[in-house]
């Protein structure tokens, strides 16, 4: 049995927890860094990346999150969470966690009035996946080990690099839990591999 955490400093935490529970796994809201050791995978939810970063620094979360990544445990960043994972952010000299080999641009589809819903073709997951984009970022450039799982309008909006999964949109805002289930499988695989070693 696996346990998946949702970083609960700010943002759409409840929705991710519900989506994880709908996938049949135990979900935990992570408010303190000590709680990270109890989970096998972590979702970095949507919210305001600048706010989350401030709270990550304030509560000394950064090293624990990087350690979590080093241990090979899967991490899934949605929207602001993708920005936290990325190695490069357009217009900023420093990344946040900087663990996933992608360059992202913030608010790259425009302001809130330009926010939209669209059906996406997602490799290995769905032909038509309902995606909600809210002041969304997108992946401008992906490193050679990054697998592009979905594009919208020619822009990369979902990608995976080994243990890291990142998307521009909000899979937690609909009742379609297939992408969460995909991440849950990543967590299960990582855990069983670790136990096999």
């Amino acid at each position: 049995m696996i346990k998946v955490g949702v970083l609960a400093l700010q943002g759409a935490v409840r929705e991710h927890i519900q989506s994880l529970e709908a996938c049949g796994v135990e979900a935990v809201a992570i408010k303190h860094k000590e709680e990270l050791k109890d989970v096998d995978g972590l979702i970095l939810p949507g919210g305001e990346s600048t706010t989350m970063r401030r709270l990550i620094d304030k509560y000394d979360f950064m090293d624990s999150l990087k350690e979590f990544a080093r241990e090979g445990k899967p991490m899934f960043g949605t929207c602001a969470g993708l920005i936290l994972l990325a190695k490069n952010i357009v217009g900023y000299s420093e990344p946040h966690l900087g663990v996933m080999d992608v360059t992202v641009e913030r608010n790259s589809f425009g302001r809130q009035v330009d926010s939209f819903e669209a059906d996406l073709a997602v490799k290995d997951v769905a032909g038509g996946f309902p995606a909600v984009f809210i002041r969304a970022p997108h992946i401008v450039e992906a490193g050679e080990n990054v697998e592009i799982l979905s594009k919208h309008d020619g822009r990369i909006v979902l990608a995976r690099e080994g243990q890291f999964l990142g998307c521009s949109f909000h899979p937690e805002l609909t009742d379609d839990h297939r992408l969460t289930a995909y991440f849950v499988e990543m967590v299960k695989e990582a855990k069983s591999q670790k136990q096999a070693v």
């Binding site: 400093l9 305001e48 600048t50 709270l55 909000h170 805002l173």
Partner: protein
């Protein structure tokens, strides 16, 4: 591809949960707010306590201030339009603000009707004091709610009254039988279908923040503990002695609203908070919460 859907508009407010939205009157304040960890700023010409002091008619902010704030920060920018003022709202939408507050803090433009917010691409937040008012605003298309409280007073008592009332009425609806809901809808002045939805969800279908009187980190944490999804702070921050420090303290108290040791630390040496106003000393016509129908 569809813009302006309920999911997109309500979803935007979901992303603000657990956060603090701060009133600002210029780019410099907006940057302080962003730096302190605000999830959004509300661009205004004057904060509520100054509106209260100035008297007269309070209107939408000068578009120059709104633009200045839009250009200064990367977090979402909200702005206030007068209740029922279709054109102020359209102007703010055209300026590209991320959320409009159809707000009782400004002088109402219509004393009978609110905006049909479902007509707009930009999402709206509205104030409420009870479930009937909350449901009417959602019915008109509001994508986010907040308690009205009593703005510009630095007194939390009205915000507490409003959140307790809304939540008690939700609990009642959830516990009622479906065949009792039409009469409850009539009594509350709430759309029947929304009460059905609230019963099914066990909560409002949109995010509900606290507003109107939050003056200290402990006030913010209190509102979170009473079930608010986040906090608006109006006059409190930039009327305090050290706005940056005060803003950071409010953000942290909102995140860790049950960590009392932390709130004690945060609350040390914040200087004098804004001077509060006792609600009973306000004449009924001076109470902004009475605006809205």
């Amino acid at each position: 591809m569809k813009t302006g859907t309920d999911r997109v508009k309500r979803g935007m407010a979901e992303m603000q949960k657990g956060g603090v939205i701060m009133d600002v009157v210029n780019a410099e304040q907006a940057k302080i707010a962003e730096e302190a960890g605000a999830v959004a700023v509300m661009a205004l010409e004057r904060v509520p306590s100054d509106i209260r002091a100035a008297g007269g008619v309070a209107r939408m902010a000068d578009p120059r201030i709104v633009e200045e704030v839009l250009n200064a920060v990367s977090i979402p920018v909200m702005a206030k339009a007068r209740i029922g003022h279709i054109v102020e709202a359209r102007v703010l939408e055209a300026l590209g603000v991320d959320y409009i507050d159809e707000s009782e803090v400004l002088t109402p433009a219509d004393e009978e009707f609110h905006l049909l917010k479902s007509d707009f691409t930009v999402p709206f937040v509205c104030g409420c004091r009870d479930l009937g008012e909350a449901a009417r605003r959602i019915g008109e298309g509001a994508s986010m709610l907040r308690t009205k409280g009593e703005p510009g007073t630095g007194n939390i008592v009205e915000a507490v009254r409003h959140i307790r009332k809304v939540n008690a009425q939700i609990r009642k609806v959830v516990s009622m039988n479906e065949d009792e809901l039409m009469t409850e809808a009539k009594l509350l002045g709430a759309p029947f279908e929304l009460l059905l939805e609230i019963k099914r969800l066990g909560r409002l279908p949109v995010v509900n923040f606290a507003a109107g009187g939050v003056a200290t980190p402990a006030d913010a944490a209190l509102m979170m503990q009473l079930g608010s999804d986040g906090v608006f702070v109006g006059s409190g921050i930039f009327k305090s002695e050290n706005p940056a420090k005060f803003a950071r303290a409010i953000v942290e108290a909102t995140t860790h609203y049950q960590d009392y040791k932390l709130i004690a630390e945060l609350s040390k040496d914040l200087g004098t908070p804004m001077k509060g106003i006792e609600i009973s000393s306000l004449a009924p016509e001076a109470r902004m919460q009475e605006r809205g129908w």
